[in-house]
């Protein structure tokens, strides 16, 4: 298992260090089938944690346990200092956007949020005020009076997020929030999720199949396979250990006819802590750094900049430069290979 230090801790911290969600060895069995085999992690306030895994990996079971919908067979978790043996209290401190959430079509967005605000104990007036504020946060202030049946899919997802925030939760769980959205809708929703974590200092747990989405938005990541955690850490840490050897790769796309010049320029880079793979007919070259030469993040950034600088100095057109981003997919496929096979 790839396990790294960082903000995703070992789950032992319950308070302090800004930890607002910690799970320790959560297990869930259905008869003889073990759906979850020991989930342990922590999440700090203001951070977004990505939950990854192929279908059947145990993501939804984990989320349903953490949101008190399912009881774990063993293990425990703590939300904002409240232990898992007090589910009603935990429900007051969490907000959830379940996958494929349905809505009452006749109700207006504003009335929907007001209704849930009242279910959480607010007076009608308080709930209406909160509803108006949240509609503004999610950009639906002009559609609050319209029936939900007239909303687009993206607007419903935004309304679902607003509902998840109606009780001012410490932790927000979002299960596939961008499913079925167009690219613009996805980007806007992801920006909203980042704002919720950063500006409102909430912990966000984001379940998604879109790896680029996790990579772009999340601070930390937990990868699950067959009911157990196979990797966890900050996104950079998990990506950095994609092949298990701690190698860091940079991929560069140049015109096919420029490959020989590009390869020569990269091989001439000062230092011996890197190797250049042969460029292929499509124009992609791979530069691999020795872990010893990029021990610090500053050294790693300098080394990557050196690659780009060498190509530009050699007057090679750079069509694409991949300095690490986009490789979570490689990690994911590698770590979940058994399930995919």
């Amino acid at each position: 298992m790839t396990q790294t230090s960082g903000s995703v801790l070992d789950g032992t911290a319950e308070t302090g260090s800004g930890i607002i969600l910690s799970a320790q060895n959560l297990r869930k069995s259905y008869g003889s089938r073990e759906a979850l085999k020991g989930l342990t992690f922590s999440l700090a306030a203001g951070r977004v944690l990505g939950f990854l895994g192929p279908n059947g990996a145990g993501k939804t079971t984990s989320i349903r346990i953490l949101t008190t919908i399912l009881a774990p067979t063993s293990g425990r978790f703590v939300v904002d200092g409240i232990s898992s043996d007090q589910p009603a209290k935990i429900r007051r401190r969490i907000g959830v956007l379940p996958e494929g959430l349905g809505f009452p079509r006749q109700q207006t967005g504003s009335a929907y949020l007001t209704f849930f605000g009242q279910l959480y104990g607010s007076s009608a007036a308080q709930a209406r005020t909160t509803s108006a504020e949240l509609l503004e946060v999610v950009g639906l202030q002009n559609r609050g009076g319209s029936a939900i049946g007239s909303y687009s899919h993206g607007m419903r997802q935004r309304l679902g997020i607003a509902r998840a925030l109606v009780n001012d939760p410490a932790v927000v769980f979002l299960d596939e929030p961008t499913l079925g959205l167009d690219p613009r809708g996805q980007r806007e929703l992801l920006q909203l999720i980042q704002r919720i974590a950063r500006d409102h200092d909430k912990g966000v747990v984001l379940c998604s199949h879109l790896l680029a989405e996790i990579e772009g938005v999340c601070d930390d990541v937990v990868i699950m396979n067959a009911g157990q955690v196979v990797a966890k850490g900050t996104v950079e840490e998990v990506i950095g250990r994609s092949d298990g050897n701690g190698r860091t790769l940079v991929r560069v796309h140049v015109p096919a006819e420029s490959v020989p010049v590009a390869r020569a320029a990269l091989q001439a880079l000062p230092g011996s802590g890197h190797t250049v793979a042969d460029g292929d007919s499509t124009g992609w070259l791979t530069v691999e750094f020795d872990p010893a030469t990029i021990a610090s993040s500053t050294a790693e950034h300098r080394a990557k900049n050196g690659v780009l600088e060498a190509l530009l100095t050699a007057d090679v057109p750079v069509l694409s430069f991949d300095g690490g981003a986009g490789r979570l997919q490689d990690v994911f496929l590698q770590l979940t290979a058994e399930a995919i096979q």
Binding site: V96, G100, L101, Q106, Q107, S123
Partner: protein, 260 residues
């Protein structure tokens, strides 16, 4: 702050809005109005031809009202939880701090609402059919009592089935099958119903027992002391259904129905 006991009212209001503003109950009541008009016309004609006594026409009109009112409530209850599971609107409710008993209570009261509406629609028909005979007051009183008791039974049963069904198709099938089964004794030959076995069947079937109660109290003009045995079976059934609903089923309300 809304009190803990106020949660069921919030749920009830939301359910009522969905049922009534959504048009489901109104559609059923429109059909009921048409059927009752046809029934009333046939009854009035038979009464004019001296084929049916006046008091019996009132009993038949009330029985028809109760039978259809129960049907609407049963259908609403049968899909109130399983339908929410299908529409994926149950999970947000279960994620709130509301107790499951409060959620079920709100849905129960809302699903009871079609019955008084059906009774109100039936009042003008009963008034016309009774020719302002004193039987009118007695009939409306006993009709309201028996209809309310039976509504509690059928709505409660529908909710129990709905809580334990993972699709509204399953819950509706079970409920409608049960509803049809309760109508069967009324179709059995009088000879059988007068036999000891028939009397057991009648006593066990709350719908049949209520029909007998209305006949004795309204058509035959018997007093409370003579009709209460007919009320015993529906009352016992009502208490049993309420216990199963609020003590057994409601606390076990879950997002999915666990099988095996």
């Amino acid at each position: 702050m809304s009190s803990r006991s106020g949660v069921w009212r919030l749920i009830m209001r939301a359910e009522l809005r969905e049922m009534w503003a959504g048009g489901r109950v109104l559609n059923f009541l429109a059909v009921f109005g048409v059927l009752l008009s046809i029934t009333a016309y046939v009854l009035a004609t038979n009464n004019d031809l001296n084929l049916l006594p006046l008091k019996q026409t009132v009993v038949v009109a009330l029985t028809s009202t109760i039978t259809f009112g129960l049907f609407i409530g049963l259908v609403m209850a049968a899909e109130s939880v399983s339908g929410e599971r299908e529409r994926a609107t149950l999970e947000p409710l279960l994620l709130t701090p509301s107790s499951h008993r409060q959620i079920v209570l709100g849905k129960f009261v809302a699903a009871m609402s079609p019955w008084p509406a059906a009774l109100v629609i039936a009042v003008p028909y009963v008034v016309v059919l009774s020719h302002k005979d004193p039987v009118l007051g007695v009939g409306l009183w006993w009709g309201a009592v028996t209809g309310t008791v039976l509504s509690v039974i059928f709505v409660g049963f529908g909710l129990v089935v709905s809580i334990w069904s993972d699709s509204s198709r399953v819950s509706l099938f079970i409920c409608l099958l049960t509803y049809a089964a309760t109508l069967i004794p009324a179709q059995l030959p009088t000879e059988f119903l007068n036999s000891p076995a028939g009397q057991v069947v009648s006593a066990l079937d709350p719908l049949e027992a209520a029909g007998q109660l209305l006949t004795r109290a309204v058509a035959e003009g018997r007093g409370l002391s003579e009709v209460w045995p007919s009320l015993a079976a529906p009352l016992v059934t009502m208490v049993a259904v309420l216990v199963v609903l609020f003590v057994v089923a409601a606390p076990r309300l879950q997002l999915t129905v666990e099988k095996g």
